[in-house]
């Protein structure tokens, strides 16, 4: 398993799109955190470390989730397209092992990207004279990895059945809904009829990533955190990951 994960991870991190997407993510975070670009919510400019931190965590979580989707989009489908899967299957490697290894590589590549983006946060903390908060970043990072696990599992599972494009679209929709879960929930109360039902349905199948982001911010601000929202997303990813184990492709090439 480790052999497949290592090779898939090596391939992933050498790809240009990995570096480009990561570069864009870093640039975006740097622009926001250094104040080059301003953020405003409801027309009000966000200033002050405490308020900025929440926004920054939300944005970095969103970027990390998007990165995770992009990095996981084509790993499994590419293996089948190139028929690399044939040379693995003939060596007695089960599909369950193969698919979970590839999903594992997706997760690790996304973790790596998340780690690099967290380095930008360290830079921001130092620049704001909040260096003492840096040790709190490790648990915060681990909380972010819960979102990463949810995104990579979802994308890996979808890529077993769908083309990279369809996988991407559906993943973005589900993860997007998860990131905006709080706002969507409010919207569902404000709307009526079909749209309200539709929003509630989307929220039901989406992982509540906005809560993960909120707990991360709370932790960094020294507030108490709730474990349940985190565990719910872990459970969501865990249950979904079983599809990687149970599902068997009929053909070794698609």
């Amino acid at each position: 398993m480790l052999t497949i994960i290592k090779a898939a991870l090596q391939e992933k991190t050498r790809r240009k799109d990995f570096l480009v997407v990561l570069g864009v993510g870093i640039l975006f975070l740097l622009l926001i955190s250094t104040g080059t670009a301003s953020i405003s919510v409801n027309g009000e400019s966000i200033t002050g470390f405490s308020r900025m931190l929440g926004v920054l965590i939300s944005i970095s979580t969103a970027i990390i989730c998007l990165l995770s989707i992009i990095l996981s989009l084509s790993t499994i489908s590419n293996e089948y397209k190139r028929r690399s899967s044939h040379l693995v299957w003939v060596r007695g490697i089960s599909q369950a092992k193969y698919h979970t290894s590839l999903a594992g590589a997706n997760f690790l590549a996304s973790c790596l990207a998340a780690l690099v983006l967290y380095a930008v946060l360290i830079y921001y903390f130092v620049s704001q004279g909040q260096g003492l908060l840096i040790p709190r970043l490790l648990p915060a990072f681990l909380m972010t990895l819960i979102s990463v696990a949810a995104c990579t599992t979802l994308t890996s599972v979808l890529s077993l059945f769908l083309s990279p494009l369809a996988t991407g679209i559906i993943s973005f929709l589900i993860v997007g809904a998860g990131l905006l879960a709080n706002s969507l929930e409010t919207l569902s109360y404000l709307s009526e009829g079909v749209s309200s039902t539709l929003i509630r349905l989307i929220l039901k199948i989406s992982p509540d990533l906005s809560s993960v982001s909120a707990q991360t911010t709370a932790w960094l601000q020294g507030e108490n955190i709730l474990i349940n929202p985190l565990l719910r997303v872990v459970l969501w990813a865990y249950l979904l990951s079983w599809i990687l184990i149970i599902f068997k492709k009929k053909e070794a090439s698609s």
Partner: protein, 226 residues
């Protein structure tokens, strides 16, 4: 040694294999011949367990080890030939140190002495030789080669065929799927000619003797399915 029993396979409404039935003896080089869409690759995929037959079965001697070289080999371009070999050897649970040595030896055997060149710089011929080398990991008793000379120039083809002859002389059983009749005639002992999922003729170099395989092939393509 290997018994293929009445294989049936359909993809949607297309019946790709209709009662394909043959046997391959130990130490033989056996050819799967036929034009495009004859069902050769599907037969190989079923033999390798890469796809399921709707009906019929393939019987192998217990514990037989199989090496497979695909028609269009893809190897991670950032890896060297040796890294590719080590990767597949590790998948076969061969310890890292042993895998490295085995990889080096096999690469040398197929004429890829330069173990440091990245796969991205490999020519088509080098890729085919690498595909053959990875199929040889663990010294399998049976080799299944899918179009091993496809897309190669004359020299490349000769080199691959020489390798096949070498393994035949070592007593390995080899099943080759190919379009190139001349190549098959040079290295194979027996074979089947397939057309639209049906075996239309069996070919035996010893029995058919003076008749060129090309002639046998053309005649059988015109005949009704047997």
């Amino acid at each position: 040694m290997i018994k293929v029993h009445q294989l049936e396979k359909t993809y949607g409404k297309t019946h790709v294999l209709r009662g394909v039935h043959f046997e391959v003896n130990r130490g033989e080089v056996f050819a799967l011949l036929g034009s495009n869409g004859a069902g050769k690759t599907t037969t190989i995929k079923i033999m390798l367990g890469l796809t399921q037959a709707d009906e019929g079965k393939v019987e192998f001697p217990e514990g037989i080890t199989i090496g497979y070289s695909p028609e269009t080999p893809y190897f991670p371009p950032f890896m060297t030939g040796l890294e590719v070999m080590t990767y597949y050897a590790k998948l076969q649970n061969i310890p890292a140190k042993e895998a490295q040595q085995m990889g080096r030896d096999l690469l040398q055997e197929v004429g890829l002495e330069d173990t440091k060149t990245k796969v991205s710089h490999y020519s088509k011929g080098m890729l085919q030789r690498l595909a053959l080398a990875q199929a040889l990991i663990g010294d399998p008793e049976l080799l299944i080669l899918d179009e091993p000379t496809a897309g190669l120039d004359a020299l490349g083809r000769i080199e691959i065929l020489e390798q096949v002859k070498k393994y035949r002389d070592r007593g390995k059983t080899i099943i080759i799927n190919s379009h190139i009749l001349h190549d098959m005639e040079r290295v194979c002992d027996r074979g089947i000619i397939m057309k639209k999922g049906v075996i239309v003729r069996e070919w035996n170099k010893e029995k058919d003797g003076a008749i060129a395989l090309e002639e046998v092939f053309i005649t059988s393509m015109e005949e009704e399915a047997c």
